[in-house]
């Protein structure tokens, strides 16, 4: 509107703006901006190639291999369809025990991680100053820079008979928990915690402060506000975090080797069948177990409607 009031003295000569030059790059841009299908094809061809060839085919191969068998004399793979591996995995007591144990470890790790991540993420997203938030974010991310193996061995040393834990609790008459499933759960919880904090933090950050204020304004104390407003809104983010910790734990075999004592998880069975036993079809059949479990979990999650808001 200010132009209406501009007074009329002749406008001073303005420096001319150079016209864009016709270059080949510009011509290409013009072509792309008027051909949306070409644009889409260029955008998606590389990722689709990766997904299609490298990703899906590997999974399908795994699935197919599970229905083959190994010739016990030659050790060669026979590509004849058989359900033997699947039946063995489903009925063998070893596989049932290890599956239950693995799922139990994964559930425990997920529960611990969510319980630890929620308050940290809430503090980062809603309480901390921007400066503090950056510091915390770096602290959460820093462990990801260190090698997985180093971190697992660090826990092995912490939990050992002459480790820091023993030294800390000995004055109070305690002793280290040693190696075994609890040690595996602790170490895995430590390893996957950043993957749980980050999505929950991102989810909480998307909840506007005014919603928390509105709840408080309407009479909601801290707990009702968390339960009725914050929790439903960050549930998809929490579930995203649990998918990380749950699936990563299901497939792990290194940590349990390092701090698990004699305990075995599904990953160990896959490892021994591929390596020592040279039975790739059976290993594939075992590997299908966590895949089926994760699909079941995703299906349950979908049923609750938590993925609708993603």
């Amino acid at each position: 509107m200010t132009t209406n009031t501009r007074v009329t003295a002749p406008a001073p000569a303005r420096p001319s703006v150079p016209r864009p030059r016709r270059t080949p790059a510009r011509a290409a841009s013009v072509f792309l901006s008027t051909h949306p299908r070409t644009r889409l094809a260029l955008l998606l061809s590389a990722p689709l190639f990766w997904l299609g060839i490298v990703y899906i085919v590997a999974l399908v191969l795994l699935l197919v291999t599970a229905f083959w068998s190994v010739d016990s004399f030659t050790g060669d793979i026979t590509t004849e369809f058989t359900l033997d591996n699947i039946i063995e995995v489903l009925t063998g007591s070893l596989y049932q025990t290890v599956t239950v144990r693995t799922v139990g470890v994964a559930l425990a790790v997920t529960l611990i991680d969510v319980a630890l991540a929620l308050p940290i993420a809430f503090f980062m997203a809603k309480v901390a100053t921007p400066r503090m938030r950056r510091v915390l974010l770096i602290m959460v991310l820093t462990p990801l820079w260190a090698s997985y193996l180093v971190k697992a061995y660090a826990w092995r040393s912490v939990l050992s008979q002459d480790g820091i834990l023993e030294w800390l609790v000995a004055p109070f008459g305690g002793e280290t928990i040693g190696y075994g499933l609890p040690a595996t759960i602790i170490t895995l919880s430590y390893l996957w915690l950043p993957y749980v904090i980050l999505p929950i933090y991102a989810g909480l950050e998307r909840v506007p402060d005014s919603l928390l204020e509105a709840s408080s304004d309407l009479g909601g104390r801290t707990w009702p506000t968390l339960r009725h407003v914050v929790f439903p809104l960050v549930l998809p983010a929490i579930i995203a975090g649990t998918i990380f910790s749950f699936s990563l734990s299901l497939g792990d075999y290194i940590t349990v080797n390092i701090v698990g004592g004699a305990s075995q998880m599904l990953g160990n069975l896959v490892y021994t069948n591929v390596g020592a036993a040279n039975n790739l079809p059976l290993a594939s059949a075992i590997a299908l177990i966590p895949i089926v479990i994760i699909f079941g979990y995703l299906f349950l999650v979908r049923r609750t409607g938590a993925l609708d808001n993603l």
Partner: protein
Amino acid sequence: MTQAQPAIRLTGLTKEFGAVTAVDHVDLEIAAGEFFSMLGPSGSGKTTVLRLIAGFEQPTGGVIELFGEDVTKRAPFDRDVNTVFQDYALFPHMSVLDNVAYGLRVRGLGKKERNERARRALASVRLEQMADRKPSQLSGGQRQRVALARATVVQPKVLLLDEPLGALDLKLREQMQVELKQIQRELGITFIFVTHDQEEALTLSDRIAVFNAGRIEQLGTPAELYERPVSRFVADFVGTSNLFDPEHSLALLEREGHHSLRPEKMTVSAEVQHGDGVRNAAGTVVEAIYLGSGVRLVVDLDAGPRVSVLEQNVRGRVHDDEHGDRVVVSWHDGDVVAVDGTAVGPQNPTPTASIGAMLPGTAG
């Protein structure tokens, strides 16, 4: 205006954010049942005062009393005031009905009872048929009304409204203004309304506090503020004014100090006008802006200042003044208001700067 027991009494209210003093020793009494507006440019502290009353911020100093009760240290959920937020702050995962029933739910009311009351509140804003929708399926005006129903269903003693109409388009805003006024009359509770839109404040309020730099610059009824602004800032911010500095005041008005003269109090004609107290000044038309209801003329007076004159579109008048025409601007001496020139706000104090804001629909 003030009764024995004011709904809100602020005493020496101060809020500092680090080195910035957002609210600077504000004293204020708001009567029960009053429609009270806090008007000011952004950053003037009006929203902070509202948030202090709601309890979202803790004051650095001073006391907030609600019907004689000191609530300064109380949490928001412990105060009998409710807020209608600028962005409405409706819970996106709840239905409209659940949103409105939320305040009753956290107070422990049974499902049947609270839904019934929420439905009644929704009916009062004519949205009962929207009860099962999600907020994202509503239009801006409907969300606004849901926010209003949600805040009023818990029967607050004071309702705080933080620029509630800011996000609505002009027609809807005018319609909601009428509705707000009606709802306030029906409920009979105190409304504290924060806005930067001076027209909205003038239309709705019983009284207005004009905020500038964390302080109340002037407190009064809309008519008092408009007819008798105490400072250049108020004269310029509430409505539009032609402001004259001491030099021009002496030359044109033959008065000492700063003065303000409203554009609609002046007329433009071809000849010098005569009469008791009538003054004239010759000038050249710079711009003639057709407004429909009238014409806004920007005139460069020969004596120096540029003034803006609002001519009503009345029958028989032909508005044919154009850029460059020589005219005589006339006004009545009694319409000139002496203002305090020292307190100049963040706005540009020259009359020409506010011409853009004079056009209807662009204010704010």
